[in-house]
């Protein structure tokens, strides 16, 4: 009781999270201040609760790998990003918000399609898609929006092919993906978008149960749904997760990453030259610097956890701010600078712990192919508007540019 009262008295001093950005290329400056002064501190979120915000690299890593934290969005204290996201997490519960052993059981059903080797076998397919999109862009008008012409269709086409979702329906699922990732969206609207996507994927799963197809959803249907190991509803939740995560994240890395490279022309020139070792490091560096999943990883403590001189009590919410950890000078010298030759770049852009991104080999491969191919095709590529006119995705779970008009 005393703790609650004391805490309430302090509440006005708690910063609101997420804070607005100052410079669109950098996380909010308040995060740097918290890292220096109060690396684990309470923040106020939309629902009036005060979860712990963890801002240093070592602490973020250690908490995300800690088996005493839960990702379960149904648990009291879970600090959701927005009312809409919370409603959608509960409307379509996938393994991203489950704990082990359930999480591991579901994740294992799809992991074989995302191993490093399996992903590498997609290189010819991805290269072909990239080349075709660039051909089309070259034939089209100038200036053009890089997001619409390249950044979004590339990962959409790849994930559609892998899942067995018809790309012709891309307007439908891209629009709904945007709706469910918008933290300002009314919860009823978020749930409606989620329901419509679920209806669409339910129909697709039914077809794949009736007729086997050689793709991820086809294999889920045949191996797990028809054998009774997985309900069709759960399969649809997994399909929705993979579809949305599979194109929004990479699309924003391509758009925002290209803008960042164009502002660093010497480093862009090295990426254009295409030495694989340089390109691979450049991709890691862009992943670190931009951290497009920019509003932390959400957890709730299962037990009391002592960390950094603070006790996080069982049941309290935790926001592990990977966007801050990736700018921690203790882990990355000159953290706010793009350095495509950075070594030992163990960034947390894909998260950490058992929930670390399942599709990361795919994201890496797409980016490793996309950046140099784009810069080689259009050596004179440039942003076609004043940089100050570019609009950013401040209200989205996945950050990036809303559009990127380019010419060449």
């Amino acid at each position: 009781m005393t703790i609650t009262a004391g805490h309430a008295a302090d509440a006005s001093a708690e910063p609101t999270y997420p804070m607005p950005r100052g410079c669109p290329f950098d996380p909010p400056a308040e995060l740097a201040q918290l890292r220096a002064e109060k690396p684990i501190s309470r923040v106020r979120i939309w629902d009036g609760s005060s979860p712990w915000l963890v801002t240093r690299y070592d602490d973020v890593r250690s908490l995300l790998a800690d088996r005493r934290v839960s990702s379960d969005a149904y648990r009291p204290g879970y600090p959701a990003q927005s009312p809409g996201i919370l409603a959608r997490r509960r409307n379509s519960t996938s393994f991203i918000t489950m704990d082990d052993p359930e999480h591991a059981r579901y994740r294992k059903m799809v992991i074989s399609d995302f191993t490093v080797r399996r992903t590498e076998s997609l290189r010819p397919l991805i290269t072909k898609i990239v080349d075709d999109l660039l051909d089309e862009m070259e034939r089209g008008p100038r200036p053009t929006d890089l997001v619409e012409a390249f950044a979004l269709p590339l990962p959409s086409m790849v994930i559609c092919q892998m899942l067995g979702v018809p790309y012709k329906d891309h307007d439908f699922f891209q629009m709904h993906s945007r709706a469910i990732l918008d933290i300002t969206m009314d919860p009823a609207e978020t749930v409606r978008a989620s329901d419509e996507l679920r209806d669409y994927l339910t129909g697709l799963m039914a077809e794949k149960e009736a007729e086997p197809t050689d793709d991820i959803l086809g294999r889920l249907a045949q191996r797990y749904v028809l054998t009774g190991e997985l309900s069709r509803d759960d399969a649809v939740s997994m399909a929705l997760l993979l579809l949305v995560a599979g194109h929004e994240t990479t699309a924003n890395m391509i758009g925002f990453g290209t803008l960042t490279l164009l502002q660093n022309p010497e480093q862009a020139a090295e990426v254009r030259d295409g030495d694989p070792a340089v390109v691979n490091r450049a991709v890691e560096e862009l992943l670190r610097l931009l951290t497009v999943v920019h509003t932390g990883r959400r957890r709730v403590a299962l037990d009391d956890i002592e960390i950094g001189g603070v006790t996080i009590r069982a049941g309290e919410g935790i926001i592990a701010a990977t966007e801050s950890a990736n700018r921690d000078a203790a882990a990355f010298p000159a953290p706010d600078e793009l350095d495509i030759h950075r070594e030992s770049n163990h960034h947390l852009a894909f998260g950490f712990g058992v929930h670390q991104c399942l599709g990361q080999p795919l994201a890496r491969l797409e980016l490793q192919i996309a950046y140099p191919a784009l810069l080689r095709r259009f050596p004179e590529l440039r942003v076609a508007v004043p940089v100050d006119d570019i609009r950013y995705r401040d209200k989205m779970v996945v950050y990036g540019v809303q559009a990127l008009p380019v010419s060449w």
Partner: protein, 62 residues
């Protein structure tokens, strides 16, 4: 140096393969496979990078 792994807790993120492809692979289910239990001195930095990068912390170096 000797590498041991807890395959039961592996989540198949593939970080070990990216950091030390000579020492680690994944089986068809994505689970870690140790290719070389005793890395040469040259391979030890890669082994350490893999241990550091493993998100499920299932790699132990002794």
């Amino acid at each position: 140096m000797k590498i041991t792994v807890d395959r039961d807790r592996c989540i198949g993120a593939g970080q070990c393969v990216l950091n030390a492809p000579e020492l680690f692979d994944q089986d068809d289910e994505g689970t870690v496979v140790v290719l070389e239990e005793q890395p040469t001195p040259d391979q030890e930095p890669a082994a350490r990078a893999a241990e550091h990068a493993c998100p499920a912390r299932v790699i132990t170096l002794v």
